[in-house]
Every structure is written in C-alpha cells, then in structure tokens.
C-alpha cells in the first residue's frame, strides 16, 4: 500500500518533448513498474509522434481517453505551467504533480480558484514529485536512494528530502511514499493534507515531515496532528538561522509580516506531540528511536 500513487496509476507527462520532461520521463519509465505506468505524453501540435516509444497526444483529454491516464506530471515552462494544470483539471484526472519552478503567483491564485469543487488533487508546483519506492516514481528524485517500507515522508524541499530518505534507507527504514509538496506560497497539497493520507494508509507506520520557514502550514499541520493523528511523527524545520524579510531560495521561504519563523513552527509541533529535532543529520536516527 501507499498514498496517491501505486502500480495502477496511468501517467501522462505534460511537456514530454522538452529536455527536462524527456529526460525525467525516461528515468521514471525505467524505475520499477514505470514502463507499465508511463503511457502517454502531451505536447500541443506534436500529437502522433512519440518519445521513448511513449505516444504523444495533442491534449490531456485525448491521452486520458486513449490511454486511460489518471495522473499527470508537468514539466512545461513556467509561463505555460498554470494553464497545463488547468488542462489536467478539466480532464478530471485524479492527481496532477507539477514540477515546474517559477510560476507567477497570480496564475496560481487563479488556477487554485478554478480547482475549487473539482476532483483533481494537485501536488506542487516547484516540487520534486512523488515516489512509492520500488513501485512507481513520478518526478525528479533519484530513485535508488529509496527502499520500500513503512515511513511516510512529506517535505517542502528537494535535496533536503533526499538527505532524509538517504538517512532512513541507510538505517534500514524503508518508505511507504515520499511526497514533495513544493516550495511555493500558493500550492496544492499541504503538510496537513498529506499527513491525513498517511494516517489512513495501513502501510505507513510513522511519518517524517520536513518543513521550512514561511507561512503557517506547519502550524496548521500541528493542530491537525494533535486532533487526529494516530501514528508517530518526526519533524525537522529548516531555517532556524534565517533572517526575517529575506527570501531563502524558495518563493515561499520567507519570514514576513511577523509570521513564518521556525521557532513558532517547532513550538507548535512539539505541543502537538511531534518528535522534533533541530539537527538535520539526526532525522533518521530519531525516527528509528521513536519506532523503538
């Protein structure tokens, strides 16, 4: 078991003919059950062609109708990416994973508004993607550091997630699913939403969450954990040393308007019974200790 994606997922890559889309689709295709799951690509105007033997269609709806796609992954450039999400939502896919970084905020505000009341779930943008180890990888993370197991991982960042997964794997702790929710201020699934999915997943025994400065998603998640979570949670919040008013790389990683400091997030998580470490090198060890 896993969350969000499994071997029954049928994936369409939007932006499959671009360099990034083509490269990562090949990597995902070659990972575990990828060749059964990656069944279509979309690039408007290039329908009828193929990449790595994956057929290309002009629209997401066509890919859905002809190949049964229910999940999309987006690599299209930032100025067209919000429209690509809209297209996948209009095609009523179950899940859209948007890797693209640098989408204008105004575009995302209007895309999120269009999604209200629709069935489609969005992960990202500006995220590494989602992986269910040894089953299916949808995104840009290095597959080989992962092992199948029972730890759920949710994170706002890319390489920090790889660091955590690497620590877990080396300690013999495999992962159920790892979800990168992305570093943008306006995004799809939040920590809290992914936590709820893990809570329902019988294959997940414990969850590691990596938050960072900016916004109040971690505080919201802490509240949710306090009321609903039945599994242990280990957390690290990046940016304890970050100064206010400076954007730390991610568009969403900024302490502004008196909100978003790491200290408040850590306090909220601790109050909710979460095991918080301030040392990013000890996330794996703490998880092992918590599991006993």
């Amino acid at each position: 078991m896993s969350i969000l994606i499994d071997r029954t997922s049928r994936v369409v890559t939007q932006g499959i003919t671009g360099k990034t889309g083509q490269f990562h689709t090949r990597m995902c295709f070659e990972y575990a059950a990828g060749r059964d799951c990656f069944v279509a690509g979309v690039t408007p105007g290039k329908g009828g062609q193929s990449v790595e033997n994956i057929p290309i269609f002009d629209s997401v709806i066509e890919a859905r109708d002809k190949k049964g796609c229910n999940v999309s992954v987006i690599y299209v450039p930032p100025r067209f990416a919000a429209a690509a999400i809209d297209e996948a939502v209009d095609a009523e896919l179950d899940l859209v994973i948007c890797i693209t970084e640098g989408i204008p905020v105004r575009d995302m505000v209007s895309t999120r508004r269009r999604m209200v009341g629709k069935k489609t779930i969005l992960v990202g943008p500006n995220c590494p993607g989602v992986i269910t180890p040894d089953v299916l990888k949808i995104g840009i993370m290095p597959g080989y550091i992962h092992r199948q197991g029972s730890i759920g991982v949710v994170s706002r960042s890319g390489t920090l997630t790889y660091e955590v997964v690497d620590q877990l794997t080396k300690l013999g702790l495999g992962q159920s699913t790892c979800v990168g929710i992305g570093g943008d201020p306006i995004n799809g699934l939040k920590h809290r939403d992914v936590m709820a999915h893990f809570n329902e997943d019988p294959a997940t025994e414990a969850v590691v969450m990596c938050g960072e400065i900016g916004g109040t998603d971690e505080e919201d998640c802490a509240k949710w954990i306090e009321q609903h979570m039945s599994k242990p949670v280990v957390a690290f919040i990046a940016g304890v040393t970050a100064p206010a008013g400076k954007r730390m790389g991610h568009a969403g990683a900024i302490i502004a308007g008196g909100k978003g400091a790491a200290s408040e997030k850590i306090a909220a998580l601790k109050a909710a019974g979460v095991h918080v470490t301030q040392n990013p090198a000890e996330i794996g060890a703490l998880t092992k200790q918590v599991l006993g």
Binding site: G102, I140, S157, T159, G215, T216, P280
Partner: protein
C-alpha cells in the same frame, strides 16, 4: 522586486488613485527646483530607499520655506538612513521625493497581499494608519478588517463598502474610498504585485482622500510580462554579491557569520546553516547553487563567497541526485583551480556515484577536509573557523 515610493505613486496616479503632487530628485538643486514648481507653502522631503520606518529615522521632513527644503534635502541626501527594516548597517539615500504638504484630518491603512492560507488576494484595512501594521496586528488585531477577494468575481463593491464602513470612515468619503480600493486591486493584478500598500491613506481637512505613502512589491516570476516595470529596478538598493549571484543563476543571501556555505537546493542550504549554528558556528551566507551545480556555477559561488570579507572557511554540502557526484566533484576541482581559494575548504558529498566523486576529489591537487555526514562537515567547518 521592490519599487520606490515615487515609482509606486506614478503607477497609482495612472490608475486614477489620488497621490500628492511631487517629483523625484537626485540632487539638492533639483529638490529646490521641484519645490518651487509646486505651488503652496508646505513641502515634504522624503528619502527614497526600499525600507519602511523612514520617518522615525529622520528620512522624512516637513519644510515650510524653500530654504528649509534646501536644508532638509542637503541633510537627507547622502545620509545613512537606519530603520527597523534596513538592518543595523542602514542604507545611503541617493534619491528624494519632493511633495506638496497635505493637511491631514485622518490616517488609514490599506494593503493588498497574497494570502497563502486562503490562496487569494486579501484586502486589509485599518483605522490605525501611519503606523507599522505588523505591530497593530500583534497588539490590536481587532482593528484590522480583511476581505478575501475571489479571483473569478473580482472585488465586490458591496463587500468593499462594508469594510470601509467598519473602519470608521465618514460617509462623505465612502464612495471615493470604495473606488480607490477597486483601482488598487487593478494595480495589484495588472502589475503582478505581491504587495500593494497605502499607509497612510489620508482624509484631508477639506474632505478629500490622498495616498500619502505607497509601497509596491512585484512578483519576480512574472517580470517577463512587465519589461517596463523591470526597468524600474534600483540595483543600488541590492547587495552587489546578491546581484552577481542572480546573474550566475545562484540564490545567495549575505549573512553576518564567517562560514561560507555552498549547497545544492534551498531546503538543504537552510538546513546546512542551521546545523552550523547548532555546532556553535555562524553561517556567512545562504547559497543554493541549484540542482545542476555546474563548474561555472560552483566557480561563481566560490568567487562570491570570497568577496565576503569575514569568510574564514568554506563548507560545500552537495547531495547529488540526478546530477551525479562524480560530475559535481570534477566541477568543484575545476572551480577550485580557477578560483584561488586560500581558505580551509570542507567538502561533504553524498548521493549518486559518491565513491567516484570522493575519489576524484582525493586524486585532485586541491587541499580540502573531507566530511562524511552533515554533522561531520559542520563540526569540521566550525573548528576551522575558530583557528
């Protein structure tokens, strides 16, 4: 990207929002001429820097004669203005705004921001204008009214009118303020802003409304749609190292410490700063070299860090994913050859092909301290910085 007050006001004026008459000036003589050109007997001399709290720092002064305009302009131009938003080093004032004085009866706060929680643009309005809204939010949050704006429907005039009534404005100005709010939302959308703030919005003694101060922050990701706004960028307001970093495709922020950090990925870069601090050190910067970490980028990163005079040691922390460690290691070796580092260098590599990467580093002639984990790397960097 941030705009200056005078730039923001020009945009507001173009959207039919009343602002005081005035002009930007770059010298005392220009300031005097600008004041003479404005009729009246009261002027305001305002420092133009990208930071709030200018008045308290002595950067905003009222003059009641042309001679006073001259003396204020002389005092403010070139001064090092320190406010709660400039940091302790302050900012040198290179631009002024000379405006006609306004007779103030009442001051309000109006702001539009992107709210992450509701994922919408939110209007904030308060009767407590002219002061720091963040302190109002902490001390007296009941005095701030908010309105979430549906991006599909736009700002509802009825909802805006209700907000205007709630912050205690006299009825005589309700129509004007509702119209101003709608125009301000237009500014927000058409400029791809992330913040539009009028603080204070003034009700004058003769019953008019005027935007006496204005602040606009723009979305960097949307600047491709606004070449005319991109030209308004004032590079003198930015850290030269940060500008060089942006040009090299790096994310760099100067900090106060002495351990330079070169990391791939924003989250891991922040975590590296944190672990340095945890072991008793102080990071000199945040630096995300990107997922690729090419030779060119690593060289540029080394050069930028070495310009930071307090750096005593450089810590490289790379988690190679799709970009393999052997490629990254070759890049580091090449960059270290190009840039004469002469400082202790701690390198921690992990990820794809890490053994090959470590071998490349070990075989190279560059002198460095190898580290295995983040903990090990941070401890070695902190120890080297203390020597």
């Amino acid at each position: 990207m941030k705009l200056h007050e005078y730039q923001a006001k020009k945009i507001l004026r173009a959207h039919q929002i009343p602002v005081p008459e005035g002009n930007p000036c770059f010298s005392v003589e220009e300031a005097v001429a600008a004041a003479k050109a404005l009729e009246g007997n009261r002027w305001v001399v305002k420092a133009q820097i990208h930071a709030g709290g200018r008045g308290k720092g002595g950067g905003v002064r009222v003059a009641s004669s042309i001679e006073e305009v001259r003396s204020h302009a002389s005092a403010i131009l070139g001064m090092n203005l320190i406010t709660h938003q400039t940091g302790p080093t302050g900012k040198v004032v290179e631009r002024l705004l000379i405006e006609r004085g306004v007779e103030i009866a009442d001051e309000l706060y109006i702001g539009l921001v992107v709210d992450r929680g509701s994922q919408r643009v939110v209007l904030m309005a308060s009767s407590e204008g002219g002061v720091d809204i963040e302190s109002v939010a902490i001390q007296d949050p009941g005095k701030i009214r908010t309105l979430q704006i549906d991006p599909k429907e736009g700002m509802s005039a009825d909802a805006a009118r209700a907000v205007v009534a709630e912050i205690g404005l006299p009825e005589s100005v309700h129509d004007d303020v509702v119209k101003l709010l709608s125009n301000l939302y237009d500014v927000f959308l058409t400029c791809d802003a992330t913040l539009v703030e009028v603080n204070p919005l003034v009700v004058t003694r003769d019953g008019n409304i005027v935007a006496v101060d204005a602040k606009i922050n723009l979305d960097d990701s949307a600047m491709y749609r606004h070449p005319e706004l991109a030209e308004l960028r004032d590079l003198s307001e930015e850290d030269p190292n940060e500008i060089a970093a942006t040009q090299a495709g790096l994310n760099y922020i100067s900090l106060e410490g002495n351990i330079g950090c070169l990391v791939n990925g924003a989250g891991l870069a922040m975590a590296t700063m944190d672990i340095i601090k945890l072991h008793g050190g102080e990071p000199a910067n945040f630096l995300d070299v990107g997922g690729g970490a090419t030779t060119e980028q690593v060289s540029a990163a080394f050069r930028i860090m070495l310009k930071h005079s307090s750096v005593r040691v450089i810590l490289v922390n790379i988690f190679g994913g799709i970009m393999r460690c052997d490629v990254i290691a070759a890049g580091i070796v090449e960059a270290a050859k190009q840039v004469d580092i002469r400082l202790p260098l701690v390198i921690r590599l992990e990820g794809t092909n890490v053994e090959k990467g470590r071998q490349i580093l070990a075989d190279s002639k560059i002198s460095f301290l190898p580290a295995t984990t983040m903990d090990d790397a941070a401890q070695k960097a902190v120890a080297a910085a203390r020597k």
